[in-house]
């Protein structure tokens, strides 16, 4: 193990030395602004446009009450029986509107028993870490009660974001200023495959339907 490591680095070091003799040795280029796209005049409109272009569904809500009714409408029309809810969504009091189906908060699951529920749930409802306007993406960092499965295993994923979580450009998001979580995922639309004659099919592995509800705040 140690030997193969040493031999590995020895080879790389020698190769770097030989290869560098041939050409110049470039420095790491300054970032500057190259490639920065930003999100234009109206970042929310840009987000909506990119997100829907990728096949995602977009909803705007101005109050928690509105969020609840959008969620209720979706759960009822999809005839979902088991809804899984992540953390940071307590303020929405989702149970109040969803009396006729099983609502499970991830935080309430005894550790070690989650798996069965993750595989069984019809809808996963999660908060987000950020929403990215440039590419129309949801950004999710794992936390103890925001597991990766929440946005992955149920056939429908519903993400709830606040307007102040909007980030303009990928460079603003991955600027290295915050420590990395164990898993950071950018989601841009529903799961897709084109492996059968290039015909677009959604939901092959991940959710076939993704909804983003942006809570804009009452003064918007």
């Amino acid at each position: 193990m140690t030997n193969s490591r040493e031999a590995f680095f020895q080879r790389v070091r020698e190769a770097v030395r030989q290869g560098n003799r041939v050409g110049h040795i470039p420095g790491l280029p300054e970032r500057g602004t190259v490639g920065y796209q930003g999100a234009g005049e109206d970042p929310l409109a840009r987000l909506r446009q990119e997100w829907t272009a990728a096949g995602g569904q977009f909803h705007l809500a101005s109050t928690p009450q509105e969020v609840r009714s959008i969620v209720r409408h979706l759960v009822v029309t999809k005839e979902a029986r088991c809804v899984l809810v992540g953390d940071e969504l307590d303020y929405l009091d989702l149970e109040k509107n969803l009396l006729d189906c099983e609502i499970i908060r991830v935080g309430s699951l005894p550790s070690g028993t989650e798996r069965e529920v993750f595989f069984r749930a019809d809808v996963g409802i999660s908060a987000v870490t950020a929403i990215l306007a440039e590419t129309g993406s949801l950004v999710l960092a794992t936390r103890p009660d925001q597991p990766r499965s929440l946005s992955l295993l149920p056939p429908i994923h519903l993400a709830i974001a606040r307007r102040d979580q909007l980030v303009a450009d990928l460079f603003d998001l991955l600027d290295g200023s915050t420590p990395m979580p164990a898993c950071l995922t950018l989601i841009t639309g529903p799961s897709k495959t084109g492996d059968i004659e290039l015909k677009l099919v959604t939901g092959v592995h991940g959710p076939g339907e993704v909804h983003l509800i942006v809570l804009s705040g009452e003064d918007d």
Binding site: L28, E50, S149, A182, L186, D195, V204
Partner: protein, 471 residues
Amino acid sequence: MIDPARQEHHDFVNASAQALGNASLQAALVRLTSTLMAGNRRGFAALADSSELRDHAKQIKEHTLAHLDRYLEQLEQSILALGGKVHFAADAEEARQAVLRIARESNCRRIVKSKSMTTEEIHLNPALEAAGLEVVETDFGEFIIQLAGERPSHLVAPAVHHTRESIARILSKHTGEQLPDEAGPLAKVGRRLLREKFAVADMGITGGNFLVAETGTVVLVTNEGNGRLTTTCPRVHVAIVGMEKVIPRLRDLPVFLKLLARGATGQTLSVYTTLITGPRRPGERDGADEFHLVLLDNGRSRVLATPFRESLQCIRCGACLNACPVYRRIGGHAYGGVYSGPIGSILTPLYGSVADNPHLPHASSLCGACQAACPVKINIPHMLIGLRELQQHEKGVKSRWERWAYQLACAVLRRPWLYRLSLRLARAFCWPLARDGWMRRVPGPVAGWTQYRDFPAPARRSFRELWRNLH
């Protein structure tokens, strides 16, 4: 051991002819490459300063490769600090052994894989199966390929050579049901079958699109979500990645993410971009408990020491395949290697040997479409010519006759009087064979030149003669 990739090498011409005669493959290739190229053009057109960004990406890669030892050490330190493990593999055999060792020590029997060309390169699956482990490819296209016992024929669309009818046949045979040949229902069957595998798998194997030295992050870019499932459900995650995939900092990552999906399909971003930084943290409810990175050399350090180093900048988007007039006609399998298309024609001889792949440096018209399409502007034509030059120095590649012919040509071109004389001779020789200025067939040792195309006869008067008459 017999290398399965090597078996087909001698028959490039035959395999190409077969591909050209396969009507459904021809239709599939046209559909795939035109759709992806149109996406590529649209994607880059929407990026304001795409040319500058591509230069920037290239500079980052050049810098990283010039200090690769340093960045790999930093990467290793970052991963160890997170509680992950790093394994160093000099070649395919060491990489396979590393995976087998991890499986043994962590007591894993059922393995799910997300799409990875690197694991194809090291022929991982047969080795795992021989050790009694179950391995399932979970990318839908790769799953079909695995059931059919084939190799992927495109970097991002591995099953492009299949039709929905053939996919329905393969899946029906596997499930014992009579499945309809429609994309939607077939994909649903795939989802159902593979979900069962994810639920019980204890090891997930992935590749990696990028490795971030600063943070110890492995970046996976997928559209289906199988990459996420592979790193979420099993308790052990093994990422097998070529060592050239490292980039210095997290803030360099957007540069490449903005280019990769656009180069591949024209998407601004693939559906899932997943950044895995070490094993699951305390209190988290899913994700792998163990994280292993297998860093693969397998010929890369040899390339790093040469002017072919530029080929290590490749981000595997497949744009050069889609742009290549040769790939677009013959598809991936005819090339005979794991990597196909223009970049494969460089990587296969470089990671293996030039002598084993004599046809590949010539499987190109050197039109330059690959370089124009490349998101990191790799000068592929230049390297193909470089490989042809290497062949000159290898014994037995060029026949003695051919070498003499070139020496004769050199002698003629160095002496103007001899050149003029031979031009006159060539004209006298060619004209009787030509019709309307074209020769359909030439005799003798140069007959090959007119086997697939007509050859232009020399002009009645050379440029020099015309020029002289003007003055």
